[in-house]
Amino acid sequence: MKELINKLSKDFNITDAVYQRPSLTFVTVPKGVAISLVTDLRDYEGYSHFVMMSCVDWIEEGKFQLLYLLHNPETKTDIGVKTFIDRENAEMASAHHLWKQVWTYQRELKEAFGIDFPGSPRVDEDFVVEGWVEMPHMRRDFDTKEYSENTYFPRPGRETNDPATYMRKKLYPNEPITAKKQDNDK
């Protein structure tokens, strides 16, 4: 695996390589290189099985991490090609021409994260959330709990007590306590 990565480093600008398992390696490349590296792996290195495409929202850094996971059926190894793209106006070159199922992933990523893949077939069609009007639902800043609280009506009648706070109210309501706890009570 290391040999292959070293060999690829000569042609592609691999900025980081993580050897997660003997059979699984993650490499990071700049946005512009990712599709060429994936094509190279498919055509010349035997990574012909496209396992999946995924996206991770690193909202703190303002980046989306795209992953193309490829499998080599001969050597039984996997390479995950990672690339980071800006979260604002996220856009990535389409890879739908490489495998038949890639456009499905790209269509999902468009809907779930708002990443555009110009030229990808049916990329603007709704996928799993037809008629969705909120922000793309898999982004980290989409709060599912808040959404469900605003959208649905819980049956009334639920209330709970924090044991420590309840005991204080019952047993020692006027004693000085730690400021941290006072904050929690509010």
């Binding site: 049956r155 709970t160 924090d162 044991p163 420590a164 309840y166 005991m167 204080r168 000085p176 306590i177």
Partner: protein, 590 residues
Amino acid sequence: MPFTAWSKVVKEPVTIKDPLNREAAPRYRGFHDNDVDECIGCGTCEAICENEAIDLVPVDGIETKDGDSGLRPKIDYGRCCWCALCVDICTTNSLRLTNEYKWIDTDPDNFRFVPGVDKKDWYDKKDGWRKPEPNYEFYGLKRVEMGELHPEERDDSFIEMIQGYSKEQAEAEADRCVECGICTATCPAHMGIPEYIKAIRNDDLEEGLRILYDTNPLPEICGRICTHKCETVCTMGHKGDPISIRWLKRYIADQNPSEKYKKILETDKLTKNGKKVAIIGSGPAGLSAAYYLSLLGYDIEIFEKLAEAGGMMRFGIPEYRLPYDQIDKDVNYILSLGVKIHYNTTIGKDITLEKLNEDFDAVFAGTGLHLGRSTRIEGTEHKHVYQSIELLRKITEGEEIHVPEKIVVIGGGNVAMDITRSLARLQKIKYGKVQVTATSLETEEKMPADREEVVEAREEGCVVNPGWSPQRIEIVDGKIKGLHVVQCLSLFDETGNFNPQCNMKNENFFEADMVVESIGQGMDLSYISEPTKEHLEMGPRGRIKVNDYFQTSVGWLFMGGDTIQGPDVIHGIANGHKAAVGIDNFLTKK
């Protein structure tokens, strides 16, 4: 259709004959049941529930008390997914799922109920999901072992025997906490225990120190010798070892260097309010009051009878349990806030209480229990019969004390163990061997001393022989020969009054050259002079009457610590803190 299709035509049908009464498998996850007597309402089930299906609600007939929040889990079956994580994590093993799965009701509200309290048909079913066995735990049940010196390393010196946790050990121990907060109610100072344990987990020890100082200005001291009542109610103690709350507190204090205290606790600049408070005694209550009053802007002056601060913490507790430099660390930080201290100043002798009232806006007295009590049996007037509290003070002061080859200590409390083990060390140094016997009225199980104290005393070569009532000290030619005892059967009569019953036929004799009495201490109120005393109301059992804020009937005089509650350090600290609040209220309203 091939003929195969007809092959089952004449076969017995495989349908279940009575599907409504099919019993589920013994492990089936059905409706909840809770053993409400075992349950303590710690809320860990609520914390683990991924569907927020569990609420903790008060229940009629279950009282909120130490170690039991009085709350019980209420399940909302509209949300429950029967994963049974609540059962697996239950700290008392009280919660389970029965294998009942059929239940029809027209009222949706019935599907929210408190298992074990609201009557349901399935509680008598024994089968169902319980926490899997063996070795299936969601947290560590065993306490992280504390490094100690071996008996042979420690029995001839006064160096500290408990070594303290390393970072890894402390974090591993802190990881066991489930953050229920049951302990906070039991701690006399109501410390934010789950909060500072969380700070250890997050490796944010500065935050931990801030939490400690919110309610306890003596963390180094309490981290070593606190009576840790919190640990007796710890929810983890039901199935395993309670969390080492005391050692974790010590870990936070130990890791923060004293130079950084002011910065961490943001006490660099305190705004003064121009009012002055006098504090009598520099024990835990006095220091605690001084600290919290300083934070509020008061000018504090402490009057201490002895030459060093700390009171019973310094002069009562041996150095191997509480090293003097650790007392200094806590005390010096409080003094660094501008608290003045007058050593060797006895109220009533060097300065009168009335004078303090004139010079200061209020007075807090935390004078403690420094008078030894005597058994008053025959022979106690002999010069080699000592009071433990006196001897401990002399050891601290570095005074030479009488250490013969054979010693008997009367008493079964922690002070008795302190003097026993201190004398044992002195004997070891002097003679190379230990011959101390400690005896008490109480039997082994009922001895008031901490268990580990008794165990460690025995490890160090002391004999602890409880269950004997002292009768007389035998003195021949002016020399002590030993102590006559008889077997003690019971301590209290039916009405609960102290009235020991003995079996006079079962006698015993402990040989000794010296006898130490350690059966409790009394308070010395001689500093309260007549004009004040007249107005001072007394409460039950010879104690002075104080209100919720430790204010006596005199108004300007507040009292706290061992004279009012306890006796122990943590009550003193709590009293001092509360009194500080009371003094502030008293003076700002005046």
